[in-house]
């Protein structure tokens, strides 16, 4: 049954399986065999397409970040006001595609990967810079010189939300996470809000 043009399909399946497996196991200590099995192929084929486990991890990470990037772009599209743009970035950060069970589980592990794989570190740095710049850009009209600090706080809080979500039982609660970050931004901007637990 071998068909032509399988490569992109196989690669995508492997990347998805990698994220799922890391998310499920909650650790980078997953075997290529299990990932391959999950993707419906032999481990040899996984090596054929990616060359190494590390490369597979990096591809998975790149995928997660590109999905996030796309999400942000989509949320920002067509929005005009700066306040709305801030909310869009936050909403994108907790969108199902990035904040689903598996992705959240994988997220934390990509931070771990970044501690030993320079390329992973680079990818994470790119993500952080982009998130920061998105936020600063949107916050500048609202907070002026305070924008970078507020952005820094929001970015850290988003990471904190991810890490905590990874530990919770049950499905991620995007609404709660969003509310938490929104509240922080609101307070930082000195907006009047009604707060609830």
């Amino acid at each position: 049954m071998p068909k032509l043009g399988m490569e992109p399909i196989r690669r995508a399946a492997l990347v998805d399986a990698t994220i799922a497996e890391i998310g499920a196991v909650g650790s980078l200590e997953v075997t290529v065999s299990r990932i391959a099995r999950r993707a419906g192929m032999s481990s040899a084929l996984a090596h054929h397409y990616f060359g190494s486990k590390e490369a597979l991890f990096l591809a998975a990470m790149r995928h997660v970040l590109s999905v996030y990037t796309a999400e942000v772009r989509a949320e920002l599209a067509g929005l005009r006001g700066p306040r709305a743009r801030v909310s869009a970035v936050i909403r994108a950060s907790f969108a199902e595609s990035s904040f689903g069970r598996e992705a959240v589980g994988a997220w934390l592990n990509f931070y771990v990967l970044a501690q030993r794989a320079p390329e992973a570190r680079r990818l994470l740095a790119v993500y952080q810079r982009r998130l920061h710049s998105n936020l600063v850009h949107a916050l500048r009209p609202l907070a002026g010189a305070a924008a970078p600090a507020i952005a820094e706080g929001a970015a850290a809080l988003i990471d904190g939300a991810y890490i905590r979500e990874a530990l919770r039982a049950g499905p991620p609660d995007a609404a709660a996470a969003t509310a938490m970050v929104e509240a922080q931004i609101a307070a930082a901007l000195g907006e009047q809000t009604k707060r609830s637990a």
Copy 2:
């Protein structure tokens, strides 16, 4: 040459070596042999004292949390005003003992451990509850019903600060982290502050 009363000394050395090794490697993929060598003994002895690698990890985690608990207690001792108590908790969170290079590197990995080891998860839950309750207790007089939400945000931000610190090159910047969390609290409490980037 075996001496009496070595047990607590050996155990402490192993726990320290475990934290150092995990911090240095940036991953739980650390061998018992290396930990034992770092602690100046054979891996067989490490097993003799802890029974398993997992148990050693848990002991290390317990140690990190107990150091943190002690730090909080010390910072809180003798303080009266609620606002000062909030600051004390934050200060304790970024004290050298917990926010040193190795401890920060280990921290992230304990979150990873918690994804597969129920006992680790339990320990982390205890820490989170305690932190939350400390903060709520201190914030209640200042924020009333909003205290839990503010505490939640502060706790998540602290975790976010840790995770980001783990990635940075160079020694942890406790001052910056402290300032970031203080700023968030201040904003949430509606305090007047001068902000700087």
Copy 3:
């Protein structure tokens, strides 16, 4: 684009690539994929033409031996005197086609192959017999009953020259090898010679 009559071309390309690859790597631990790539085709095609890696090795070996045989024939052509015939055989043994870098590197490995592949052993035996008989034939008028022993020594020395050449850096030194064997023959025949280092 498949063309007709490609078979002999493909086969020759594969044989050449095999010798080159073995010579370059200096070992039989060479992959069919690399050989095929060097020959400009897929490994599947290599299998299509030769059936197995072993068969490809044998074909390469056969090629090397047939090149050598042709070289000997060419050198012997038209020569009449026995002494000249001896020199012709020696010259052929160190001709560029057989004593080039790659061929020398492959040579040693064919001896290795012969230890496990009976067919390779057979081929090598044929080569040895032919070399011996060529030498004896030429030496007989000069050395009489001593011819076989002298031939044996010359043949072994030629092999020794090959094995040593395989280890040297830089291009093979055919002149030196030739001189060494000629000197041995001369001495065995009791000729008067001036020797130089």
Copy 4:
């Protein structure tokens, strides 16, 4: 049953098993598992003691060369005349310890190893230099300026004898090999000899 001081015993057993296995298979394509089994232990233990397959090969090679060195030393001990010293070196080269079935089989493969492992190449170079220098030293009084060339020829012939022996069925024929080299030396020195096939 684990005892103390096993290391040298295990190492020696592994080195012997490596030589035997390479000799038996006639190739470096032997597995660590088989070597270890032959030496009566698990492959993990082999790795424990040698670190890698390559290191094991090198140790085996070093062993073979040191055995040969000892043999030469022993044969040379107490001999005075230069001619006797030449014969001693030749005799040592074909002594049972070096010219046994397994050692001969391994020998050729060490030449192969030398093509990819620099350390192996170095070891072989040391052997060649030593052999050459031993021969030159003994030949100088007999042949003067011609000594180096004669030595070179003898050394190459010895290697040739090894390579040819590796291919023969049946046990190595040390006597024949010795006679061949002796005859070559005798002829080169212009000695009067009766030759026989």
